[in-house]
């Protein structure tokens, strides 16, 4: 790694002031798991890193919101997120997803804020949070704004977060009536980076899919929703024919790209198969 300055402010305002709106060689560092990989490979050579470590007390913890949703501090580590009773009650799919996410050591260090800010399409949580309808709180010099996770991620390692903005929290809205499942498909071990991640949320009433949110990751340039497939499901009676039709529609709709986990045509087959399976899982949950 090349040398850099390291600042460790204790107040959010100081951290924001140490970031530089014009200079992307100045960045925040949270757990550092993604940044260390990029710095060790020479992909990123920072001039200055602003550690959020000493802000952790203010950006920590998982809280139930009055509306029945939850708010997760940006510095919450993935292993704490997986164990959180609040998360398990409000959005169990998050805890389930983390079971095959990276490994215990990475989860002990990696934070949810770093996970989202990295903008890496191969991550598991972004599609899950999109399907849950989650948003982030972004703090900047001018105050706070709230951005939906689906609008946060704009391309490969690209987000709408300005150089001098920080994620302070992730907001998951109440999930009353909704069921969410995540299909992680890997080409090697179960806890590898995904070749495809498909998160499916549905609101089912009497066998009819009233509403659906479908998000894809890892097979596309960035995690995104598939609105065409969502519309196809809405208001329809759920049977095997519909699940197959939805799988085909998603495979046609998703702008799938190849990577070292598989070719685009292979990944389209994965989408067609696993969308149906994930939907079946949510529906089975809804009827329990």
């Amino acid at each position: 790694m090349t040398p850099f300055e390291l600042e460790e402010p204790v107040l959010l305002g100081a951290a924001l002031a140490l970031l530089d709106p014009e200079d992307s060689s100045v960045r925040a560092i949270a757990g550092g798991t993604a940044l260390m990989l990029m710095m060790k490979s020479g992909l990123y050579r920072p001039r200055r890193l602003v550690s959020l470590r000493k802000l952790a007390p203010a950006l920590d913890g998982v809280r139930s919101a009055p509306d029945g949703g939850i708010e997760i501090g940006a510095m919450v580590r993935l292993s704490d997120l997986r164990r959180s009773a609040v998360v398990r009650a409000a959005a169990p799919v998050i805890a389930e997803t983390l079971l095959t996410h990276s490994n215990v050591r990475v989860r002990n260090v990696a934070t949810i804020g770093g996970n989202l800010a990295q903008g890496d399409p191969h991550m598991d949580l972004p599609p899950v949070l999109i399907a849950l309808g989650a948003s982030v709180r972004l703090a900047g010099p001018g105050g706070e704004r709230i951005v939906r996770v689906e609008d946060l991620l704009t391309g490969y390692l690209e987000t709408v977060i300005a150089n001098n903005e920080l994620i302070t929290a992730v907001i998951v809205p109440p999930q009353t009536g909704w069921r969410t499942a995540y299909a992680k498909v890997t080409a090697r071990s179960a806890d590898d980076w995904p070749a495809l991640g498909l998160a499916v949320s549905v609101r089912v009433e009497a066998g009819i899919a009233r509403d659906a949110r479908i998000a894809i990751g890892a097979a596309t340039e960035t995690a995104m929703r598939l609105p065409g497939t969502e519309a196809l499901l809405a208001g329809r009676a759920i049977d095997d024919a519909l699940l197959q039709e939805a799988g085909r529609a998603a495979a046609a709709e998703a702008p799938v790209v190849a990577d070292h986990h598989g070719s685009a045509s292979y990944k389209r087959v994965l989408v067609a198969v696993h969308l149906g399976r994930a939907l079946r899982q949510t529906i089975a949950g809804a009827e329990r």
């Binding site: 790694m1 300055e5 990989l37 710095m39 215990v104 050591r105 990475v106 260090v109």
Partner: protein
């Protein structure tokens, strides 16, 4: 500052200070400054577990951890397990079941097993696989490693 800084932390039970560069990793610090060679960098990417150490009781990949971040923390390396001259029950179990060939991966597996048994004293096969899935053994001693974890768990429970 790119300049060196002094950090203070607890290393294997003793209060220590060290001068580190911001871009230095924890595994570099342990090997270069403290002559602790149990943690070793192999993949350098968080995947293999050869560089595992405990920071405040939690296993981390010291190849992906900035040395500066252990300021104020407690760090435990594999060397500490036998500091009193007696091997830890986990180490004994690894020897008794023959859970290694070359031994390069062993410190990492032993420390991951420590965290596992701290959290789940009576782990199922799934628990063991889950905790150890981020550790790689090129000699392929996996069946013996799983047996070693179970033996250590039984002994620690006094069963």
């Amino acid at each position: 500052m790119t300049a060196p800084r002094t950090i203070h932390f607890t290393l294997n039970g003793a209060a220590v200070a060290a001068t580190v560069m911001p871009h230095q990793s924890l595994v570099e610090l342990l090997r270069e400054r403290f002559d602790l060679f149990g943690a070793r960098e192999s993949c350098g990417q968080g995947l293999c577990g050869c560089c595992t150490v405990l920071v405040d009781g939690r296993a981390v990949s010291s190849c992906l951890y900035l040395a500066a971040f252990v300021d104020g923390a407690g760090v435990t390396t594999v060397e500490h397990l036998a500091a009193d001259g007696d091997l830890d029950p986990v180490q004994e179990a690894f020897i008794e079941t023959g859970a290694f060939q070359c031994g390069f991966c062993t410190p990492g597996f032993v420390l991951m097993t420590k965290q596992l048994l701290d959290e789940i004293p009576d782990p199922s096969d799934d628990d063991i696989r889950h905790y150890l899935s981020g550790n790689l053994c090129r000699c392929g001693a996996y069946p013996e490693i799983v047996a070693a974890v179970k033996l250590a768990a039984r002994r620690q429970r006094g069963a």
